[in-house]
Every structure is written in structure tokens, then in C-alpha cells.
Symmetry: C2
DNA sequence: ATTTTGTAGTAAATCAATTCACAATAAAAA
DNA sequence: TTTTTATTGTGAATTGATTTACTACAAAAT
């Protein structure tokens, strides 16, 4: 399992994330088995692609019955790397940063929100929802000491590049960049994903226009 | 132009958005012409796909010279529906909502940020960066009166469904949903895009794992 | 004029993703 | 048992996206 994977495209990974949400929901309702056609309805996909996605990672169900939910959750979490908790820090404790720290969707066993960093002396030393804010000066030492793998970047755009370049790729493996500076998908072996609000608005603007014509 | 379009996939639209950013940057540096290979380097794509994307919408350059930047910007904006300003409101003026209102990337001629709405009486009547906060009660009247087409949804997840169902599809054509409730891509003829932080974390978690193995 | 150079436009080829359609098989029913 | 039913697993077909590779121009250089 997991080693006879050829190239997995990002859309497959995004679907796995959808399946996971769907599975957790089914589990919360007390289900223990699930059919590919149930996942398919819930996620708005054809059932065949779900079976194919899973088979590709060596996950198989039971003919005539479906898939075991617990097992499926465990396998998908393993594929996504969610089986080991990852330490996360947030840089930039402004409104957006604060919102993210407070956000429910990531208060999750898989991501351990260790600390926040900011330059504003009014904020340093304060807490946001059990997360302490430290001075940016202490960032790199902290990352090293606490084995931080993921950085959420919510600083003003003018600081983006400087901070990204300062992160030690020995520890930091991924950045979620919320600033309006668009970064490349990889830099110094750190994976970067941009959350690009302007682009999302443009895409929805296009969809709206199509719907009218 | 624009009517011999077959089916345009979202990836093409996302690329157009990238081209637009690149073009505006080139324009800001005083360029008036641009080659597909320049856009290609900047956006990390093959030049041929750029030419093909543009040709598909009836946009052509000059052989041996390249494309006229101003013209290209105008055409892409037209395709994305950015030529007409769209009125936008934000519902939920918490940290995330406040951050979005203050966000530079959308202070843009194409999207007119008209108002914010919230239930919290402490906030009602206040301003965030020139945007006034109104009571949720006034939402639907406001949408009708001010021809609001886009809603940015930053309320607590418990309120998501109620608010989405209350929006009048006669006016609202698109929703950007930032709550942790995942909504379908379309509902009552309103296009919906989810900004799903949990999914982004899962995707980057997968990428990080791949990079190590 | 003629040749060279540079870049667009695009048909054909390739590569990738999705769907179809059905055999395999396990459980339930008869 | 045997038959029926349900659902997986997957090869083949299809559909879609990207890349290659080359032609067509237009401008600049000779």
C-alpha cells in the first residue's frame, strides 16, 4: 500500500478530503458501513470514481456490502498525513489571524496550534483562545525548538517575502499564505498554497455571468 | 466573440485570473506589449496553453510581436464579468469579516463593497474602513434596494444555512462561503464557492508528506 | 527586394481524468 | 442448496486537457 502509487494529482487529494468529511458525518450518525454510492451522492460525484480513487491507494470494500467506515477514515487520514499530529504556528495576529485561530474547522486532533507571532507590542504576551502571541523575533528559535512543520501566514503583504525567506526549511514543510502576495507552489523545498481571495471573487464573478447568459 | 464558447472549465477561468494579475503587473511597469512566453514564465505555464486559452475566447495577438496589454486586460475583464462593477455585502462582521473588509486585494474597481451586516448590537452602526455595519434584519431590504449581487458569508457556522436560504436569488447571484459548513456549488440558482480552510490544511499536509518520502 | 528573426495560431499527438458497463463475489432470501 | 440481490473492482471507452511541432505572418535587418 502507498508505494505503488504513480502520480497522484491534487484533485484526487481534494476528493479524499471530501470523502473524509462525509465519512466522519456518517460515523457521527452511528453508521459503521458505507456504500460508494452514498459517498457519491453526498459529495456530488459518480460512485465509480470513488471506488477507483480508493482502489488506487489499496483500499478495498466488501462486495455487496460497502466499506467499513472506521477503517476507511483511518486509511484516508494516513494518506493525507493526518495520522501524525502536525505542529502549526500562525504569523500575524491581526483580524485574519485571530479569526483563523478561533476557527472551529481546524480545532482538530491532526493540527496542533502551538503559538502565534506578531510584531505589535500591544499583542505580544496576550492570548487568543489558548494560543499565546510571541514576538516575531522569537519565531525561528521557536520553530526549531518545537518542530513546527506548518506556518499560516497572515501578515501584511509588505512583510510576506521577508518572512517566507526567513523560515528554516529544515523544519517548516508547508505554508498556507493568506496575504495578497502570490507565492510559487514551492520555495526552498517548502510547499506553499495561496488562499487568494481576489481570484475567488473573479471566479465567482465569471460563474455569475455565465448563469445569466 | 463569447458565443462560440463550448464548455469552459474552471481551471481555464483560474488561469485567466492569473494572466490578468500578470498583465496588470507588466502594465504597472510601463509595458504595452507582452509575449505569451512572458506570461508563461510569470505564471509557471507553457506558452502554448496561454495562446490557446486566449484564442478560445477570440483574443488574438500580433505575429512576431505579442499581445497588446491594454486590450488583453479589457478582454479578460469582460470574460470574467469584471467590466461591470458588482455590489458586494459581507454578512458577519467578526474577526474574519473585518479582516476581509480591510483586505487590500479586493479594494478594486470591479467589486463595490457596499455594506456589512451583523447581529451584534455593539457593532451595528459602527464603521470598518468606510463600510457601515447594519443589523441583519435590514439585510434583505438592503439587497433589494442596492442590487447586491455577491455575498461574502463570514457568520458563525450555526447561522450559515438559515442565512443562505433567506437570500433572494432575484438579486444575489454568488456567495463566497467562509464558514465551516460546506455548501453545494449551486443553490436556488445562486453560485456558491466554499473557502474551506480545513481542506487546504489537509492538502498541504499531503504535499508535505510526499516531499519527505 | 530579400532574408532573417521572432512570435502567434493551431492541427495532431499525447497524456490524464472520468465514465461506462459488466464480471466477480458475498450475503440474504427462497 | 440454489437463486436472487447488492455492491465492489476494473478493463475498455470516452471525454477532456495539455503539449508538441510546425506553418503563417509581420517586422527588422541586410
Amino acid at each position: 500500500m502507498e508505494n505503488f502509487q504513480d502520480k497522484i494529482s491534487e484533485v484526487v487529494i481534494r476528493r479524499l478530503s471530501d470523502y473524509l468529511r462525509c465519512l466522519n458525518y456518517a460515523k457521527s450518525k452511528g453508521q459503521t458501513l458505507i456504500k460508494s454510492s452514498d459517498i457519491s451522492t453526498e459529495c456530488g460525484l459518480k460512485s465509480s470514481i470513488i471506488r477507483k480513487d480508493l482502489a488506487r491507494f489499496g483500499i478495498f470494500g466488501m462486495k455487496g456490502k460497502g466499506y467499513n467506515i472506521d477503517e476507511l477514515i483511518k486509511e484516508i487520514e494516513k494518506i493525507l498525513g493526518l495520522n501524525k499530529t502536525k505542529n502549526v504556528v500562525l504569523i500575524g495576529a491581526g483580524n485574519l489571524g485571530t479569526a483563523i485561530i478561533k476557527y472551529q474547522g481546524i480545532k482538530n486532533a491532526n493540527f496542533n496550534f502551538v503559538a502565534a507571532f506578531d510584531n505589535n507590542s500591544d499583542k505580544i504576551g496576550k492570548m487568543i483562545d489558548n494560543t499565546k502571541i510571541y514576538s516575531n523575533e522569537r519565531l525561528n528559535g521557536f520553530i526549531k525548538k518545537n518542530r513546527i512543520e506548518i506556518v499560516l501566514l497572515t501578515v501584511p503583504s509588505s512583510e510576506t517575502i521577508k518572512i517566507v525567506d526567513s523560515l528554516d526549511p529544515k523544519f517548516v514543510k508547508g505554508i498556507l499564505n493568506f496575504t495578497s502576495v502570490i507565492l510559487p507552489p514551492e520555495k526552498n523545498n517548502i510547499f506553499i498554497h495561496n488562499i487568494d481571495l481576489a481570484k475567488e471573487l473573479e471566479v465567482i464573478s465569471y460563474c455569475m455571468k455565465k448563469c445569466l447568459s
